[in-house]
Symmetry: D3
Subunit: 130 residues, 6 copies
């Protein structure tokens, strides 16, 4: 199904094992989802991508749930089916209620609508925004 078959035993490569171990420790779970297995074909890309995800998604000025919802909004805009499946679950696990999901959807849909309108009307930016 995947474009590139992931390695049968990815953790035989110690660089992959180190990343997978860190994913398990960071997320406090044994579950490694298919995205990481796909990237295991290239340990350098895997390590860089996980490093970026770990640094970016950790709670900071924004909490972890807000970050997951932003991820879902981008993934809906890009029609990324896998990312929608995984990050909606991620957001639910971090506390997103059905009401929050519905509002996330409403804002994401609205933004896509008005983006097209503002683009098509070629609305000049108000001096108040500069």
């Amino acid at each position: 199904m995947a474009t590139i078959k992931p390695p049968l035993n990815p953790e035989a490569d110690l660089r992959v094992k180190a990343v997978f171990d860190d994913i398990r420790a960071t997320r406090k779970t044994d579950f490694i989802n298919n995205f990481w297995k796909a990237l295991a074909n290239d340990p350098a890309l895997l390590a860089r991508t996980w490093g970026l995800v770990k640094a970016t998604m950790a709670p900071g000025a924004l909490d972890a749930l807000t970050k997951e919802m932003i991820y879902v909004a981008v993934s809906a805009t890009n029609q990324c089916n896998y990312c929608l499946a995984s990050h909606t679950e991620g957001a639910k696990a971090k506390g997103m209620t059905p009401e929050m999901f519905a509002e996330l959807m409403a804002v994401t849909g609205l933004a896509n609508m008005t983006n097209a309108l503002a683009g098509a009307y070629r609305v000049p930016i108000d001096k108040e925004f500069l």
Copy 2:
């Protein structure tokens, strides 16, 4: 500059005036930004779009700032220049700090990156997500 020149005196049309009055009352400001003036060419589209924005962006299960940040994330993904200018200001007005903006950017950028990767590898959805 705009595709369609907005009417010179849009509020001469009472349907437009009613919408602009509601924008001013809802936002507690006299400022009507160019997006609404552009839509004033078609009072029906203006009224429907404002109705949707008002209902969607009101605080509910998600607070108003989170909604603005979701808007910015979608607008960055779609490269909507006007929307980025207006909604970043909107988010700042609702309390977004520079640190929050930087994290919003980091998550938005990361999601666009991993969306492309998950799509290209055609990663099968884990049964755990179904």
Copy 3:
């Protein structure tokens, strides 16, 4: 301003001149818009692109105005500023009224909104549509 400066005198290349002459004859105007001047840097790409535009945009099962409006809808979705400027003018020249433009905008905005929703909910395709 452009990424690649167009040639100062593009029609000195006879392959470019042949295309420009055909554009003028087909459109019954002396005006060659900047898109074609930009492509004149590569006469083969210019000739192939114009050939495709000429064959595709000619009225057939769909009339010329409907085709221009479809072009605008796609360009709004992609945020292509130049294409929005040129094809909105093209549609107006072919008879698009302000009312038609407003409805074109409304449908384009709506489709972008519901595309995001259908993607994010990962709605299964009804067996009735298969």
Copy 4:
């Protein structure tokens, strides 16, 4: 399969039933497609979205078939699989012939191609278009 399982008996909620009844009356069919069932998780989002679809897709300055084809063009650009399935059927039901579909595809494909070219060459907008 869906991100959020739709309610088993959505019309037990009277707000959902009212929307579904209006869909059936407007479309003169008993068939409620999965998109609306997915949105039934949030009756407010369902009602707003249906209200917008009903107002936007009704024939006006543009006929209903032209509107469906514009929808398909946007959905192809966004790669929205569900929307392509449902709105291509919608267009066929409103009279789209195979010849019209082929021309719709040709224009949609061409616009996506030239959008990328105009963007990449950063073509300056002709003064004639301003």
Copy 5:
């Protein structure tokens, strides 16, 4: 599964047969992939599209493998599942190694990330680039 069922015996139409014969001759294979069968519903669109593909993808100033990889990068950005399946195979057939694929992915992911950042920050173009 497809939006429009391809004709059962497409080569009964001699215009389709001519294109399919040229695909087989150009690619030195008997295999006609489903994309071309889908387009066979409209022989004119099929012929124009194949003509463009043949002219564009032939090695020239860029070699055939580089062209396939550019195709994959665009298809990943657009989330075109079919195109990712077919053109990744095309690139492998032309010599793309797993290491090259991983770097293609890395650049494609990075470009999508920084596109969003540059858009959102509305970075002014340096005078050095003009």
Copy 6:
């Protein structure tokens, strides 16, 4: 012009100075383009983004010019004006000729066209590609 004004003297922050020094050393130039100055508002995001760019764009299984051209193809698809300006210059500096640019454009345009077609026809993936 920018959404967020870059700091007046970004290198007063030693974390920013370290990144800028590395950009200058890696690229063997004193020129720091505006993208990096914009990111200097958040030294952590700046450092992570530069680290990713440096690791990803270094020549490896793909040469530096091929990587720049892939970047341009993605940026054209996303309509990222800044990225098109900067990375087209980057590609020229690494040896891209006008003929190569024209072919890059041709492939990028074609891929965007056929992506839309394959999506809209919902072409099933050939078993030969699985």
